[in-house]
Structures are given as structure tokens and as C-alpha cells.
């Protein structure tokens, strides 16, 4: 671990050896996980609980002629069979998506993608439920499917959403950002213009735990409790209230331990709603857990952006403008999970980390006969696609100019004195020192030495004794700017819910604390880092601070963990709550010490009388005093609690410089990632161990997307990535040993300067790997994933489309 600037040091350590604030601390949550005592949704086992399963469409597009459930109903262990017709009577056949569209819970008229929900069975056990699915007879009338997004708007394309009144085509929206006229003018006069088409193919977050729920509707009390795999328990509660018309005070959403989310567990899936219906219908608790194929085929996919990028520059390599046309494949329903005013997410941050005045993007989104989604897989609301575009285009420009891609980047990176910087599409980057991060990555990589080695290998390969099997070495760079921690609430909402987070901190009389969060961890270690945040502000040992989350009955409202929101938004809420406690503690200490608040000075964890440090009160002593009969000044309430709703003034802007080195076997197309260097700047690191873990995971995602992961379709709309035998995740064999570095540029507007890091590496790493592969094979543009077959075809100069199994 190298550091160009030391992170905030430990103030001191607690009796248990933990830092009183920031620093490496082992995770509190691990004690249960390493014993197999994590409590995930599928581990919930209630008395009398029933099990369920969903019958899914085998066609991508077909009219439902009839559904015969009689044989399934006759199965001795079956308790209920539910179809779209049943749901229609409850007004539940359709539900709103997070993007103002509707999606069917169970199909009534047509199926619109392979894997869509058609019927639902509740039975005594899961084997019986699945047996009964086999007994349901569905007669379909197959329809032509729209599989290739590029043909979705053809005049003769079948209309997918004929359920929407007045629909005559498959267009969802046209949207643009930037000044087109100004941008076009720069292009018209530019010395150099490079244009490329590229696909960021459809991929899937595929957390190791699939999605599921256990619903229990208590008939007597009318209370619905639902244990569910959700990254946003409070938003789910409100949506259940709106969809099902249930009184919100009687809905408890519990998000217990979650086996990874990555965006897959933001939305509400039909299965969750069906488990509720199942419980209402049978009067028993009902569990629904999807299998892996269902997860890959029907839950939120990610990306699927078809991009045409153009970059303009001077011959000396000064970038002047960037423009892009995007065709966005949203699947059969517009179900992306992003702030309402941003139909293409934050894609228009695509100008990236460079200094140029002109930019324009146009996004056209279309329906196709595929599963819905688009915003998922740690994408920071489509910044992944944006970073991919700009980092590929800058690399293509370097190729055109015959300039080293590091030199070209260095020449164009924003300079530290330009911050806060307003981008051509209106983002206000809060802070950064970009050249420092790139230099640090190049230093760790030994960049010049790598280029020398590459030149030698290329010379040898061109020489008379060339070995045809000698690996081709490639070096790829990427520099990313992230924007994370949505709101502010005035600009950002999901389904009308402003993106602000609540938080409550209570200091008990004995000086032990409970912190209640609206966000929920899916592995990020909230139980540890949030205790450290509070410790950092008021000096209580982190082991004395219990973090409570994932249960809407016991935590304040907030929008949830996605878009790297937890630390920037809820982390700020926790810090502000702790600060309020500290301020109130001062008043109480003054009362107890019979002095004025102005006479008091703070040292970590204690207020004391200026000039007489022996006269003081620790937070624990003050907590007891706050609950005692001590007389408090007029207007000061007893107890030591604080409740905060934090509305972020802006996003935070983490950034980083990544370098990837690959070796490609020219005879088989196999890509081996030799090294990966990642320098991240996420502001001060609350727990460096956890930050590094987050980065490691994201880098593996980048290797996965660049080399292995894709959900492709055949011309009938059959999903070709519906299992882990077809949808390949990186294993320990594909991942190198990651080499990390850091710089620290605090966010000026966050109470403790931190920026969020959960998605940085997933956003930043794919272009570094792709740039390295293309550098190795000396091809300017081909599309990921670079499986051996794709790489080999690219080497032959015959690129394949990765998203379709047709040429």
C-alpha cells in the first residue's frame, strides 16, 4: 500500500484495540458470518411456512391463449395456484416500475420476454411447488420478437407494448444533454476527428445470493411482515403501500443479511409481490426464492448501451469536444432504477476527467423482448457506460495521433486549480487532483519500463526468429470520475421520494450507543464503518456503538444503498447526528460542572474546563447526567439523542487512475491479466481495510465484464446467459493480485470529507482491461467481452457482435 498523502491517522485506540475513529478495524459482522450464522432471507423459517415457485415464459414474445391450472390445483401438496386473471380481480396484475412505466406481476395478455412471470404456485414444500409448475398447461401463440435493439424502431417491428394505449412504436424516449450547436461547430473545424461504434453489452450483477422473500400477513393484526432481499427497505415499504393499498404503518420490511446486491436488489420483483399475495390467499407465511436461472433471466440486467462516439482534437492532442449517440436497450418494460429527472441516469457525465468545452449526447431508449432493467451492477446510475465511452474514445484518439495514451491523458486532465469544476453538461465536480493520481498509478506500474518491455517484445515478434506463440503484451489505462451519493433531494427522487437519508443516534445512560440507519449493508461492512464514523466525532469506542439497520420498524426513512450512497449520504447523516450529540453534551457538561459552555474545551471523547483538564466529563458521564435528575438549562431536554435527515448539497466525486497489463495468446485468443494497478481517491478512508476490499471486488467485476460476462440472445429472443455455465463470473484464476494505491482529496461539502467507493472500481476498471487487450492485439476497436473466441476473431480483423448469437 503506497500513499502519496497519509490518511487521517488513528486518534488512539479503545480498550478492545479498535481505532477511536478512522483506521483499520476488523469487522463486527464477521463473527456471525464465519460461523455460518449469517441470517439471509432463505434462512428465515417460520412456523407453518409454505413455499412457492413461479412458472415463467419459454417464449420471448407470445400471446397467451389459455392457461389451465386444474392439474396443478389437484396436486395434494398445492395450496394455491395464481395467474394473471386472479391478480386482475385484486387489481394487482400490473405494478409501477421505478421509471414511471408499468410491468406485469403475472402476464395477462402477452409474454414479452423469455423468463417472464406467468403463474404462481404455493405448496407445502419447494419440491412440490416446482412439480406443480410442470402441471400447468399454457397455450401460447408465438409472435415475432424484437431482439436487436437496432431494429426496434423499424417501421415493421412488432409493437411490444400494445398494453399501453396509443402505442405505435417501441420507442421509450429521446433525451439529450449538452449544447449540440456549439459541439457540432467544434467538430466542423477540428483538425482530428475519431469516430467509433461500441457496445457495452448486457451484463448481470449476479450476486451470489439470488433474490427472494418471505411474506407473512397476520390476518388478526393486519400486519404484513416481509423479509426480503432489498437494498432499499424503506422505499420498498412505501411502494408496497402504494401498489397493494396496504396501510404503510402495518408494513414491516426486513432486509436481513444480504448476500451481495450490486444493484440487483434495488427494484421490486413480481416474486416479492406474489409472496405477499400468496400469504394473503393462504393465511400462512410464504417463502419465494428464485433459482440462479431465474435470477439471470428475469431480474435487473445492466448496461446494454449501443454507442457511437466521436472525439475532436488538435493534432497536438488537445481534446476539443466529445459527442455520442446512444441506443439504449431497456427490455420489455422501462424498469431502470434511477432518479426521475435522469432518464439516462448520470450518463451525461460522459465528458469524464478532461478539460474541454464542448460536449453533446443523445440517448434513444427502446423496448425489446428482453428482461427489464438497465441500471444495476454497481454502475453509479450509468456512469460505468459514460466512463467506458470516454476512456475508449481517448484511447482511440491516442492511437490516431500515435501518441502514448498516458501522455494524451496527462495533457488533458483537469488541473487541481480548476475545482470546483462545472462540466460542459452541468455537473459540479467538488474536488480532485487528477494528475497526481495518474502519476501515482504510473509510478506503481513502472509505466516506462512496461512500455520498454512491450517495444522489445514487438521488435522480437517482427524479427526473423519470431515465436508465433509468444504472448502479445498490452497496457491499458483508464481514468475515471465518479459522481455518487444522490441527492440533493430537490433534483433527485425515485418515484417521488426525495433522495435524503434519516439517521438516529441514541446514547444510553451508561454511555453505550445505538445508531439507527436507513441504509442497509449487502456486504459493505456498515456495522463497523458507521460505528467508526460516530467514534470519530464523539470518541466513544466503536465496539460500544451498535448499528441497527435493515428493518423499517426500527430505523428512520431513507432511500437505500445503491449508487454508492451509504457513506456520502447516510455517513454524513451519522456524522451530523454525532456532532449534534457532541454539541448537546457540551451544554450538559457545563450544567454538571457548573460552568459556562464557553469555558469548555473538547478532547476526543470528553469536554473539560479550559486550563483545568482534571475538571471534565466524558461522553459516557454526560450521558448518565443527561438521564439523571441534574437540572438542565432552560429549553434543554434531557437524554442524549439526535435525529437527522441529511440532504446532500451535491454529489461527491471520487476518482481514480487504473492501469492494466495483459498477455494475449495469439494462437488461442486467451487473455491473461498479468497486473492491475488501481489508484483510488475516495477522500479520507474511514476503514482502509474495507475500502481496499471494495476496490478489489470492483476490479474483479471489471475483469469479468471485459473478458467473460455477457447476456446474449439468439434471434428468437432465447436468453443465452441463463446459468453460471453460460454466464461466466471471474474466478480466482482470472483475477491477478491487485496492486492498490491511493491519494486523498477530501470532499469540501461532506461533513467528514468522505466520498463513497463502493462502485468506483466497477466503473473504472472495464475500459482499462479492454484498452489493454486492444493494445496487445493492436486493433483500435472491438467489443467486450474478450473471450478467447472474441479475441481471436478480433485478431483476424473480424469482430463479432457480442450481444447476439447471429452474425
Amino acid at each position: 500500500m503506497t500513499a502519496t498523502e497519509a490518511p487521517i491517522p488513528d486518534v488512539s485506540t479503545s480498550a478492545a484495540g479498535n481505532p477511536l475513529g478512522f483506521g483499520r478495524m476488523l469487522r463486527k459482522e464477521d463473527a456471525r458470518f464465519v460461523r455460518g450464522q449469517g441470517h439471509y432471507v432463505d434462512d428465515v423459517n417460520l412456523h407453518g411456512m409454505l413455499h412457492s415457485a413461479i412458472l415463467r415464459s419459454s417464449y420471448a414474445h407470445a400471446r397467451i391463449v389459455s392457461i389451465d391450472t386444474s392439474a396443478a390445483e389437484a396436486h395434494p401438496k398445492v395450496k394455491a395456484v395464481i395467474t394473471g386473471k386472479t391478480l386482475e380481480t385484486l387489481n394487482l396484475a400490473w405494478m409501477p416500475t421505478l421509471s414511471g412505466d408499468v410491468v406485469s406481476v403475472l402476464a395477462t395478455d402477452k409474454v414479452r420476454f423469455q423468463g417472464q412471470e406467468v403463474a404462481y404456485v404455493v405448496a407445502e414444500d419447494e419440491y412440490a411447488a416446482r412439480d406443480a409448475l410442470e402441471l400447468i398447461e399454457v397455450e401460447y401463440e408465438p409472435l415475432p420478437a424484437v431482439v436487436d435493439a437496432r431494429h426496434a424502431l423499424d417501421p415493421d417491428a412488432p409493437i411490444i407494448r400494445d398494453d399501453l394505449e396509443g402505442r405505435t412504436d417501441n420507442k421509450i424516449y429521446d433525451w439529450e444533454a449538452g449544447d449540440q450547436a456549439a459541439c457540432d461547430e467544434v467538430f466542423a473545424n477540428a483538425e482530428v476527428v475519431v469516430a467509433e461504434d461500441m457496445i457495452y453489452p448486457r451484463v448481470h450483477p449476479a450476486p451470489m445470493e439470488t433474490c427472494g422473500s418471505v411474506a407473512h400477513m397476520d390476518k388478526v393484526t393486519g400486519k404484513l411482515t416481509i423479509w426480503t432481499t432489498t437494498q432499499a427497505p424503506h422505499a420498498h415499504r412505501t411502494i408496497y403501500a402504494l401498489v397493494a393499498g396496504l396501510p404503510e404503518q402495518k408494513i414491516q420490511v426486513i432486509s436481513p443479511d444480504i448476500g451481495g446486491g450490486f444493484g440487483n436488489k434495488v427494484g421490486i420483483y413480481p416474486g416479492y409481490v406474489l409472496s405477499i399475495v400468496g400469504s394473503i390467499v393462504t393465511g400462512a407465511p410464504v417463502k419465494w426464492v428464485e433459482d440462479r436461472s431465474e435470477n439471470l433471466m428475469s431480474t435487473s440486467f445492466a448496461r446494454d448501451y449501443h454507442m457511437h462516439g466521436e472525439i475532436a482534437a488538435t493534432r497536438e492532442g488537445k481534446i476539443l469536444a466529445l459527442r455520442v449517440d446512444v441506443l439504449a436497450d431497456h427490455g420489455a418494460f422501462n424498469g431502470v432504477a434511477q432518479p426521475t429527472k435522469f432518464p439516462a441516469g448520470f450518463f451525461h457525465i460522459f465528458t469524464g476527467s478532461y478539460d474541454y468545452p464542448a460536449a453533446h449526447c443523445k440517448v434513444t431508449a427502446v423496448y425489446t423482448n428482453k428482461a427489464l432493467g438497465g441500471v444495476a451492477y454497481a454502475c453509479s446510475f450509468r456512469i460505468t457506460e459514460a466512463v467506458y465511452l470516454v476512456e475508449r474514445m481517448v484511447t482511440c484518439l491516442a492511437d490516431e495521433l500515435k501518441m502514448d495514451p498516458a501522455e494524451l491523458r496527462m495533457k488533458n486532465l483537469l488541473r487541481p486549480e480548476q475545482f470546483p469544476y462545472t462540466s460542459p453538461t452541468g455537473w459540479e465536480y467538488d474536488s480532485g487532483d487528477y494528475p497526481r493520481a495518474l502519476k501515482e498509478a504510473m509510478r506503481i506500474a513502472g509505466y516506462d519500463e512496461l512500455r520498454r518491455e512491450q517495444a522489445e517484445r514487438r521488435a522480437a515478434a517482427a524479427g526473423p526468429d519470431a515465436d508465433p506463440a509468444a504472448p502479445l503484451m498490452g497496457i491499458g489505462l483508464s481514468f475515471f470520475t465518479e459522481g455518487v451519493g444522490a441527492g440533493p433531494r430537490k433534483h433527485m427522487d425515485i418515484l417521488g421520494l426525495g433522495m435524503a437519508d434519516g439517521c438516529e443516534l441514541r446514547i444510553h445512560p451508561t454511555g453505550k450507543a445505538q445508531l439507527r440507519l436507513s441504509v442497509q449493508t449487502q456486504g459493505q461492512g456498515h456495522e463497523t464503518t458507521f460505528a467508526q464514523i460516530v467514534s470519530h466525532v464523539i470518541g466513544l469506542p466503536p465496539e460500544d456503538i451498535e448499528v441497527i439497520h435493515g428493518d423499517t420498524d426500527n430505523t428512520p426513512f431513507g432511500l437505500g444503498t445503491y449508487g454508492s450512497r451509504s457513506t456520502p449520504v447516510s455517513g454524513a447523516a451519522a456524522a451530523v447526528a454525532a456532532q449534534r450529540i457532541k454539541d448537546k453534551a457540551r451544554i450538559i457538561a457545563a450544567a454538571a460542572l457548573e460552568c459556562s459552555v464557553d469555558d469548555l474545551e473538547w478532547e476526543h471523547g470528553r469536554w473539560f474546563v479550559k486550563g483545568d483538564p482534571s475538571q471534565g466529563k466524558t461522553i459516557a458521564e454526560i450521558a448518565m447526567a443527561a438521564h439523571s435528575s441534574l437540572e438542565l438549562p432552560e429549553g434543554v431536554e434531557g437524554h442524549l439523542d439526535a435525529s437527522v435527515v441529511y440532504n446532500p448539497p451535491n454529489l461527491t466525486y471520487p476518482f481514480g487512475a487504473y492501469i492494466c497489463v495483459v498477455d494475449v495468446d495469439p494462437q488461442t485468443g486467451v487473455v491473461k491479466v498479468r497486473r492491475f494497478i488501481a489508484v483510488d481517491d475516495c477522500g479520507p478512508r474511514i476503514n482502509p481495510m474495507i475500502v481496499e476490499g471494495q476496490v478489489h471486488g470492483g476490479l474483479a467485476d471489471g475483469v469479468g465484464m471485459a473478458l467473460m460476462e455477457v447476456i446474449a440472445f439468439d434471434s428468437d429472443g432465447n436468453n443465452l446467459g441463463g446459468s453460471f455455465m453460460d454466464y461466466l463470473l471471474p474466478t480466482s484464476m482470472e483475477c491477478p493480485s491487485w496492486e492498490l494505491g491511493e491519494t486523498v482529496t477530501p470532499s469540501p461539502h461532506h461533513p467528514i470529507g468522505v466520498k463513497g467507493v463502493g462502485e468506483s472500481a466497477t466503473v473504472g476498471s472495464p475500459p482499462a482491461v479492454v484498452n489493454a487487450v486492444l493494445d496487445a492485439i493492436q486493433v483500435r476497436q472491438a467489443d467486450m467481452p474478450f473471450t478467447p473466441a472474441m479475441t481471436w476473431r478480433a485478431l483476424q480483423g473480424r469482430n463479432l457482435r457480442p450481444d447476439l448469437a447471429i452474425e
Binding site: 469487522r27 464465519v34 440462479r292 474466478t731
Partner: protein, 164 residues
């Protein structure tokens, strides 16, 4: 059919459907939910347990195949203290969401039992049948090395003690 399976040293038995998978026997019949399930195709390794000392994927093992045999699960790792593999995962941050962790640790424990001092490449190969979506594997490898190093130190201390 009826099966008798020794699980973590304890006798267990139940009347089951012949098609019942071992993972469901452990989770549903015995309530040992530390063994997870993450795919339908033997790819992810979240369900890894030992059958007669050898790691197997319990999602593709029938409970009937374990009849009369010994199974060890994550719940059987801890002795008086945490197993060094468990401690290593804590010390080196070898887990995030924890979903892959039980299977990963069962694989790692088996590796260390047959090779107490594996190098990085050996560890990578050994755990290549266990997917993790959170950690990028780096800290899992460090966790296994932590366990190897600490076990070696403990063995050395034991021998020294025995020699005195």
C-alpha cells in the same frame, strides 16, 4: 427412504424423498443454514461441505448418497476456538457479504489439511470452484495464508513444548 448421516460428529436421520439434495437436507431438515445455495449448476461452490473428509458440492449430491457417511459443514469448523481458517477470514477481511464464505472456508480447510503451506498459485487453483462476487479473491488468498502461517507457528510451538 430413510437416511442416517453423521453431521459434524452428531448422528442425524430422517425419512426423506429420494431426490432430496444434501444441501436441502442440511438446511431444511437439520436447520444448518450456514451451508448456502447459489446456483443450479455446480458452479458457485456456496454449498461446499465435506463428505468423508472431501469437499463436495452439496447442491449436486443427493442426501441419500450421504447415507452412512460423514458430513462436515461450516457449523463444524469451530472447536474451542475459531478454526485458523475462520480467524484468517476475519483478520484479512476475506469476506464481505459472507454468502460464499462457508463454502470457501470448507474448501480452504481441506486444502490446508493436505498441503499445510500452499503458495498463492496453489490457493488460487484450490478455490477456483468457489465463486465470490465481493472480494476479488485477494483477501481470501491472504486469509488462507494467514491460517497456514498461524498453524505452522502453532505446530512449531507444540513441537517445542513436546521436546522440552
Amino acid at each position: 427412504m430413510h437416511v442416517n448421516v453423521t453431521v459434524n460428529g452428531a448422528e442425524t436421520g430422517a425419512d426423506i424423498e429420494a431426490r432430496l439434495l444434501l444441501v436441502h437436507y442440511l438446511r431444511n431438515e437439520l436447520g444448518l443454514t450456514g451451508t448456502h445455495w447459489g446456483c443450479d449448476t455446480s458452479n458457485c461452490g456456496a454449498c461446499t461441505v465435506w463428505l468423508d473428509g472431501v469437499p463436495v458440492k452439496s447442491c449436486t449430491t443427493l442426501a441419500g448418497m450421504a447415507d452412512g457417511h460423514e458430513v462436515r459443514t461450516v457449523e463444524g469448523l469451530e472447536g474451542t476456538d475459531l478454526d485458523p481458517v475462520q480467524q484468517g477470514f476475519v483478520e484479512e477481511h476475506g469476506l464481505q457479504c459472507g454468502f460464499c464464505t462457508p463454502g470457501m472456508m470448507m474448501t480452504a480447510r481441506a486444502l490446508l489439511d493436505r498441503d499445510p503451506d500452499p503458495d498463492e498459485a496453489t490457493i488460487r487453483e484450490a478455490i477456483s470452484g468457489n465463486l465470490c462476487r465481493c472480494t476479488g479473491y485477494e483477501n481470501i488468498i491472504r486469509a488462507v495464508r494467514w491460517a497456514a502461517t498461524h498453524e505452522a507457528a502453532a505446530r512449531a510451538a507444540d513441537q517445542e513444548g513436546a521436546g522440552v
